[in-house]
């Protein structure tokens, strides 16, 4: 019986997430980033290289790069903010509405509810990332066309190959955010105030990136969940530098395990008084 209707609550969770104006406006803001970027690049003649991977220079060569550049722009702040809002809301939001007690009495089961909450947050990560990439690709296509792509390594690949790489990059960023989402899930189990959980979650991402930018803390860097976030650009080399993909997977997997376990230990034993 339970196996038949198990996806039921998951689907309901997904539907609930995407029915909230708050979450839809987050996606709208994320979609705005590549649009803004493409229009700005189109209107100015020679974009200058800034920090991060030199993607902006490539934008005019191929529309696909709009999405990828926008993704890199969103990684340090916009994406963590978006995911922090959703992940921080998971348990704390239900607690503040009081709906958590009715879900548990239904009975959703505490572990099952936690797992579903986490998985649906990861789905939101994927949708958020794809929103940037897909909107970027479409706008780029419209404004710059889709010729063969010159990679960071100097090689040229076809548009089809570029699409595959765009999907890979979206996957990479989703994995990057999955570890962060686990932190948000844990924070969400320790409070009944969703805004507090959201703020605390976003703060961890900012703090980790600040720590990551201090050279004296280099011993700490490999342990920061943000450490591999910008290595997404390695997917634009030829051949693809798979090592960073694997390293990132391992790092995020560690965070998912640790914070998932903490969230589980906390949520399965706490008194639900909301």
């Amino acid at each position: 019986m339970s196996s038949v209707s198990a996806p039921s609550l998951f689907l309901s969770e997904i539907r609930t997430i995407f029915r909230r104006w708050r979450h839809l406006s987050i996606l709208a803001v994320l979609a705005g980033v590549p649009i803004l970027l493409a229009v700005a690049v189109r209107l100015t003649t020679s974009p200058e290289s800034g920090q991060g991977p030199p993607l902006l220079d490539q934008v005019t060569n191929n529309g696909l790069f709009v999405g990828l550049s926008a993704l890199v722009i969103c990684i340090p702040f916009f994406l963590p903010l978006s995911i922090g809002v959703v992940a921080g809301d998971t348990i704390a939001g239900e607690a503040s509405l009081g709906t958590i007690r009715y879900l548990l009495v239904a009975p959703s089961g505490r572990s099952r509810l936690l797992l579903i909450k986490y998985l649906s947050t990861v789905v939101f990560c994927l949708v958020a990332t794809l929103t940037v990439v897909v909107v970027g690709a479409l706008v780029g296509w419209a404004l710059f066309g889709a010729e063969d792509v010159v990679l960071l390594s100097g090689d040229t690949i076809t548009t089809a190959d570029a699409v595959v790489r765009a999907v890979l990059m979206a996957g990479y960023v989703t994995v990057s955010l999955a570890g962060f989402a686990a932190i948000g899930l844990f924070v969400s189990t320790i409070t009944e105030v969703p805004v507090g959980a959201m703020a605390a979650t976003v703060t961890t991402a900012i703090a980790a990136q600040v720590a990551g930018s201090i050279p004296q803390l280099s011993w700490l860097h490999p342990w920061l969940f943000t450490d591999k976030w910008l290595d997404v650009a390695d997917l634009l080399r030829n051949p693809i530098a798979w090592a960073s993909f694997g390293d990132n997977l391992l790092l995020q997997g560690g965070y998912i395990l640790v914070f998932g376990a903490l969230a589980w230990a906390r949520f399965t034993t706490k008194d639900v008084l909301a």
Partner: protein, 317 residues
């Protein structure tokens, strides 16, 4: 043992230094409508939270429909409908969508019949016309009804209703009483908490009274009403009547012109040491007292309630 739908042994719940529920032994017989009474802050909701596995007991144990809680939650809770500390819903979803979500959370609820069951539940609580409105636009009474609808989504063996009439208008309150009678008629056990006695008195078969975390009384409604009450005799022979009443050991009668009153703790039947009303009349007549009117008022549950929980308006703790 299994003929108790809810059974707790020495159930205790402490929050820090405060003992919210103090060693209570609830015994709710299967098929009963059990009124769980007590003033605000007496531990009713905490007890319900522990019963439903939302909070863990500090000591003692609780059984729901024969399974230990919270261990048996997965197996037992699908058979239990509950309203805990007021309704809670997603304000941005419609009544129907809210119920669909709660139903989806129950692994024992078949997806196939969901739509029909939701419609029936909404009909039962009179919300059909507001089914597609967002809960944001619901009044407190409507939310309360929606909460009841959620408890009725599946056929239940036990309903735990915490203050189900809170926020309802008089008609709504009547309907809830009707609903409780109907559910009890279908064979469900109903555990209903309230601080409003009048609402409960009319539908309950059993009553438990909480005061400051302790269960101070428990039993059938009749047994809790007790032997206390008032006897009033209208008679021109007031003095003779007073003599008979005190002779029966009913206490110290008060005489006012043609009326004699006595307040007593000994009403009941001769078998349990009390004095039956018919025996009082026989004694009066035998003594030649001309009886024009005779009234026996058993102490109301409210008198008993106040007696057990204290008069004060202040929250005890």
């Amino acid at each position: 043992m299994t003929d108790l739908a809810i059974h707790t042994r020495s159930l205790t719940k402490r929050y820090g230094s405060q003992t919210a529920v103090n060693a209570i032994d609830l015994a709710v017989p299967t098929g009963a409508v059990y009124g769980f009474l007590g003033p605000n802050g007496s531990g009713k909701t905490t007890t319900i939270r522990v019963l439903l596995g939302l909070a863990g007991a500090t000591s003692g144990d609780a059984e729901l429909l024969g399974s230990a809680m919270p261990r048996g939650a997965r197996a037992v809770l699908p058979r239990v409908g509950a309203l805990v500390e007021g309704p809670a819903f997603y304000p941005f979803l419609s009544g129907t969508a809210n119920l669909a979500r709660l139903d989806a959370a129950n692994p024992g609820a078949p997806t196939r019949t969901r739509r029909t069951r939701i419609r029936t539940a909404l009909e039962r609580v009179g919300l059909s016309n507001a089914a597609n409105k967002r809960v944001k636009a619901y009044s407190l009474g409507m939310k309360q009804r929606l909460g009841l609808a959620a408890a009725l989504l599946m056929p239940r063996d036990l309903l735990v209703l915490d203050e189900p009439t809170n926020g309802l208008d008089p008609q709504g309150t009547r309907e809830v009483r009707g609903l409780i009678r109907g559910l009890a008629g279908d064979g469900a056990t109903i555990f209903v908490s309230s601080h409003l006695l009048a609402e409960i008195e009319q539908v309950c078969t059993h009553v438990g009274v909480m005061s400051a975390g302790r269960l101070v009384a428990q039993g059938t409604l009749a047994s809790l009403g007790g032997e206390g009450g008032r006897v009033r005799v209208d008679t021109p022979d007031a003095r003779g009547a007073a003599a008979v009443l005190s002779g029966l050991g009913l206490g110290d009668p008060r005489v006012e012109a043609d009326v004699v009153h006595v307040t007593t703790e000994r009403l009941g039947s001769a078998t349990d040491g009390g004095v039956a009303a018919e025996d009082i009349v026989a004694a009066l007549v035998a003594a030649g007292v001309r009886v024009r009117g005779f009234t026996v008022e058993h102490a109301s549950l409210e008198d008993r309630f106040v007696e057990l929980t204290g008069e004060g308006f202040d929250v005890v703790r």
